[in-house]
Symmetry: C2
Subunit: 107 residues, 2 copies
């Protein structure tokens, strides 16, 4: 799972959001680092919906514009949780191995 995908799932974890809401949430979640483009977002949403990771929650028309809300599924929650575990494990591995320099300048 790549970062945009991951952050999309994060953004939906507490409550459903519509496309443009997700873009804003992801930007905030990532401290401004990740700015999703529509292309990235909607392709990912379609893919994740196809996978059963998320689903369309409802559609609203607000001021003449369609808003499609997406909701994370139980399966998506599980995927997100195990992805978080993977990230933690990888980070720990990196920290550990960055610390263990064998025979630094010896040789």
């Amino acid at each position: 799972m790549h970062e945009p995908t991951f952050l999309i799932l994060c953004s939906l974890a507490p409550a459903p959001l519509h496309g443009y809401g997700i873009i804003g949430a992801v930007e905030e979640l990532s401290g401004g680092r990740v700015r999703l483009r529509p292309g990235t977002l909607y392709t990912a949403l379609d893919r994740l919906a196809r996978d059963g990771t998320l689903a369309v929650d409802r559609e609203e028309v607000v001021e003449g514009r369609l808003r499609r809300y997406y909701r994370i599924t139980a399966e998506g929650r599980n995927a997100l949780a195990s992805e978080a575990s993977r990230l933690e494990a990888n980070a720990a591995t990196a920290r550990h191995r960055l610390r263990s320099r064998p025979a630094g300048g010896t040789a």
Copy 2:
């Protein structure tokens, strides 16, 4: 940075390794989860060397076979460290947001 790239850098953090050594190290580091194919590995190595993230350390001929050892650079170390930070931050975000269900029973 994707996982294969990340794990390759992890594998090289303590000491230089040659290609097939990296494959083994990555498999071990990831608990058997990630098994690099030669194609993935050498393309990544070329790319990372081009970027200055790692460099060829030395070449040896062992039993008639060439072994090319790769070494992580200072730049690569920095990249790996900041990647680890990113992973930690993302994992924390996910944990946090998986816990905060609004109006779930919270109120």
